[in-house]
């Protein structure tokens, strides 16, 4: 290990290799509650060659390597192993090309998601994936976790915008996967293998992203409901009316009060639930969809429907929604966030099941999420120092997962498995599929050097 640190320091300089306790302690966690470990060293590579150099050294000294961006992950994917080498890619933060002829953008892995959005926007283009932490999350982290966001319903997730990747493999070789071609079936689609691989198969160092033309118009609606069921029925009605809004977000009363305490954007505190709906596209289509959606809301018992007056107000509302998870921390010290996703037809049943589980274990569970996708974020508000309550939290999580799987759902829609969801993966996948994952891992990382212990053991 000391040899690895010495050689890394020689190549990168002392300011890019951290080992002092005060320097590395803040790299012991990511955005996930209760998980932390102290790495041995944190290094800041400048490019793929630096990453390759570090991985080769790690091979020699048998050191586990954990890749990290801004550390906003919500499944513990970038929590280091004790004694590991952390490769922090935040200094690889250049946007290399915006190709307006081919509608692509090429960037280093450490570029902040918001900067990608802004660079596209400046060229009149649009990068849709907008995870809650987009103001600070890195695009490399988004690719590693295949992050979703508020616009998933209409526009899909990170995977749908990745055309190519530069990846450094465990042995240090540097690969380019994919191309600018819209159609490309040369060989296996290995690019997709790395998307959502949580740093266990290789280190993503560059991404080539697909961009869309910027929608000409947008309209945001905020509808308040007297019950969760009314909100859920409205969502079904919107989808049944063949309307696919860009955003169809749900926030329950506990969550909306916390969000309002922080953001002060005028959310109706008395509502049992609110829906935040955005439609975008051609101005005529937007006007039509907004009118239809508004009338569907009223028809299903909405107590009020507010239209954002302008783009600033729309952005404020979306930003407020993105703060939901963090805002819930106002209530209790520890926030255990789940990411279960069910087929949309199962939403109302799933919401009821979560309510019953909360009651059974005497826990506070606030729920918000992407109703349009069936992706829910039940968040258990607790205190990690209360061991008796934490035991009940564990039981409740297991029951939420079971209820999800019974309905044909998935344990994670957009946060990844990491450490937090690892115990439940085999139950979802079944033995054969689970073993197939391990087979792939062994093929690409035979010594288990890359982010070991994440996704599965």
């Amino acid at each position: 290990m000391s040899d690895l640190i010495a050689q890394l320091t020689q190549r990168l300089g002392t300011h890019r290799v951290l080992t002092a306790r005060e320097d590395i302690l803040p790299y012991g966690f990511d955005g996930t509650a209760t998980l932390k470990q102290l790495p041995a060293c944190v290094a800041f590579p400048r490019d793929a060659a630096d990453v390759s150099f570090a991985l080769k050294l790690a091979g020699v000294s048998a050191t586990p390597v954990v890749t990290r961006g801004s550390g906003t992950g919500l499944s513990g994917g970038s929590v280091p192993l004790a004694g590991s080498l952390v490769l922090c890619l935040v200094q690889m933060n250049r946007i290399l090309e915006v190709d307006t002829a081919n509608l692509t953008l090429r960037a280093e892995a450490g570029v902040i998601t918001q900067k990608i959005y802004e660079a596209a926007d400046a060229a009149g283009l649009f990068y849709p994936p907008d995870p809650g932490s987009m103001k600070i999350s890195t695009i490399g982290g988004n690719v590693a976790e295949n992050s979703g966001g508020l616009r998933g319903l209409k526009y899909g997730v990170t995977r749908d915008y990745v055309m190519g990747l530069e990846v450094v493999l465990a042995d240090g070789s540097i690969c380019w996967l994919g191309s600018k071609c819209v159609k490309d079936v040369a060989g296996y689609n290995l690019r997709d293998l790395f998307i959502g691989s949580e740093g266990t198969l290789g280190v993503v160092t560059q991404v080539l992203l697909k961009l869309l033309p910027r929608p000409a118009a947008r309209q945001t609606l905020l509808a308040a409901f007297p019950s969760m069921e009314a909100a859920a029925e409205t969502v079904s009605a919107i989808i049944a009316a063949r309307i696919i809004p860009c955003t169809l977000e749900f926030i329950d009363q506990t969550t909306l009060r916390c969000v309002e305490d922080f953001a002060k954007v005028g959310l109706p505190r008395d509502a049992a639930a609110i829906l935040l709906i955005e439609t975008d596209g051609h101005p005529a289509a937007v006007a039509d969809e907004a009118a239809q959606t508004e009338s569907l809301c009223h028809h299903h018992g909405a107590t009020s429907v507010r239209r954002a007056a302008n783009a600033t107000e729309a952005t404020q509302l979306a930003t407020a929604r993105r703060s939901a998870f963090s805002a819930l921390a106002r209530l209790r010290p520890t926030t255990i966030l789940e990411d279960v996703t069910v087929p949309r037809s199962e939403l109302a049943g799933m919401i009821r099941a979560i309510g019953l589980i909360a009651q059974k274990h005497a826990l506070t569970i606030a729920t918000f999420g992407h109703f349009g996708d069936g992706n829910l974020h039940p968040t258990i508000l607790t205190d990690e120092r209360d061991h008796a309550e934490m035991h009940r939290v564990e039981l409740a999580v297991a029951e939420i997962i079971a209820a999800t799987l019974e309905r044909g759902g998935t344990i994670t829609g957009e946060h990844g498995v990491g450490l937090a969801k690892k115990p439940f993966l085999r139950a979802q996948l079944g033995d054969a599929s689970f073993e197939l994952l391990r087979l792939v891992k062994r093929a690409l990382d035979p010594d288990g050097r890359l982010n070991p212990g994440k996704i599965f053991d």
Partner: protein
């Protein structure tokens, strides 16, 4: 004794490390290292509270590398009380003595314990500094190259020292002034305001004005203007001639005991029960003054009074908007045109373009952001041109420009660049540290003259020009 391990643990736990503070932190942006972010610093503090880390020199340096700008608190959805965490951590650093050196201890004693606890002594030192500057001795010494004899640190600081004004607040403001009373004859008054024709409400509002320390020595004219605009809006203004430092300097620099003592002295001097509002015009002071209720919450003798104080403490802009201040009329008595039409008379007068730089402790510490702009927009003949990053720290940050000159200089340059890019002729700001930092930064940079001022100066001038 104030320490991280004694702190209510839930304050530390409040941070759920989501990272949303990172993009708003100037020191994280500078280095992109976690320890230089709010989330990283809180992790270090928590490690100390948990006994996983000792209070080390490196920890101490980190706590003082933080600007204390509190931008993180505006960004934090979880509502982490970073100000309290930082003050507690700095107090612990001072108790542990991990940064102690003879020079540092001497400077701390002289400033925190001697100078900024004795308002009369501070004024005497200010008077000497004024003599040095006004007599021409300073210019003479500079020409003779005598400054080169100073140690490097002092040589760098010397040109940054504020220009002391000829008169301090108590020489410009009477202890009690009411809308009807004749103004104090102030000789070379900064403002030629003679009468305040605003009709006093049935029961005039009684307010106390806090004059500050640096504000008193270098910007007494801002204090005068503060009184003027309150008078013009029908307030009876009480301004005790000798006021103690509010203790913000002490609290922000780990001297918790002095901060408590100064808060009590302030409460002994001004009883909140006697006033409708207590007015501060400096962002840094106001942010701390508002926290008296929390600071003294477990002091049985002062807790109730301190809570009442916090409830009545108002930033001047906030208060003016709250009492629905009177918009100044066009010079010559005509009101500004109601519609977009510009009258022939005003069209010939070029509008003054003003931009607004937000004091961190005003916008993040006190959440007062819209009100100063409302005042600037109400000024006849003034156009508000927003500059980029108006809420980003200018690098003054109390004494940060003295303790961390390199980072402070880069932030100053960044700020001056945005101010110049706005094309404004005037930059308004409401904190003496920012005021000096902008003045120095603009003077060092090339480009057209940009004047630094306080929004209430512009408002007072507009009232004065009505006649």
């Amino acid at each position: 004794m104030k320490s991280l391990s004694d702190l209510d643990y839930s304050v530390l736990q409040q941070c759920m490390h989501c990272g949303l503070c990172l993009p708003t932190c100037p020191t994280y942006e500078e280095t992109q290292r976690e320890r230089h972010s709010p989330r990283g610093r809180i992790a270090l503090m928590r490690a100390i509270a948990d006994g996983e880390l000792a209070v080390s020199q490196s920890f101490g340096e980190e706590m003082y590398y933080c600007l204390g700008c509190l931008a993180c608190t505006s960004a934090c959805p979880a509502g982490v009380n970073y100000a309290e965490l930082l003050e507690t951590a700095r107090a612990e650093v001072e108790q542990a003595g991990v940064l102690a050196s003879p020079t540092r201890s001497l400077i701390r004693t002289l400033t925190l314990r001697v100078l900024f606890t004795r308002p009369r002594l501070l004024r005497a030192v200010g008077r000497l500094l004024w003599l040095w500057q006004a007599s021409g001795l300073q210019a003479l010494a500079r020409r003779a190259g005598l400054m080169n004899l100073l140690p490097a640190n002092l040589r760098r600081l010397e040109p940054q020292a504020p220009t002391i004004l000829a008169k301090f607040s108590h020489q410009l403001i009477r202890p009690v002034e009411s809308p009807a009373s004749a103004p104090l004859n102030v000789g070379r008054s900064m403002l030629d305001v003679e009468r305040y024709p605003s009709p006093a409400p049935a029961s005039p509002r009684r307010v106390a004005v806090l004059t500050g320390c640096v504000q008193d020595l270098a910007f007494a004219n801002i204090n005068r203007a503060t009184v003027d605009v309150l008078l013009a809006n029908g307030c009876e203004v009480h301004t005790p001639p000798v006021q103690p430092c509010c203790g913000s300097l002490h609290a922000h620099n780990g001297d918790h005991a002095s901060a408590l003592a100064l808060a009590r002295r302030q409460l002994d001097l001004i009883n909140p029960a006697d006033f409708d509002a207590i007015i501060s015009n400096a962002g840094g002071c106001g942010s701390h003054l508002r926290a008296y209720g929390h600071l003294l919450h477990d002091d049985p003798a002062y807790a109730a009074k301190a809570a009442a104080w916090s409830a009545k403490l108002r930033d001047i802009h906030e208060y003016l908007v709250e009492i629905n201040f009177r918009a100044p009329t066009q010079p010559g008595g005509s009101n500004p045109p109601a519609s977009g039409a510009v009258s022939a008379a005003t069209a010939t007068i070029a509008a003054t373009t003003v931009t607004y730089h937000e004091s961190c402790h005003l916008c993040h510490g006190q959440k007062v952001s819209a009100q100063p702009r409302a005042i600037l927009r109400a000024l006849p003949g003034v156009v508000l041109n927003e500059c980029a990053e108006s809420q980003w720290c200018c690098g003054s940050a109390g004494i940060y420009n003295i303790t961390q000159p390199e980072t402070a200089a880069r932030l100053q340059e960044r700020k001056v660049g945005h101010v110049r890019a706005s094309g404004a002729q005037v930059v308004a700001t409401a904190n003496p540290g920012c005021h000096l930092q902008l003045q120095n930064g603009l003077a060092q940079s090339t480009g057209p003259v940009v004047t630094v001022t306080h929004p209430v100066i512009l408002l007072a001038q507009a009232y004065a020009a009505e006649k």
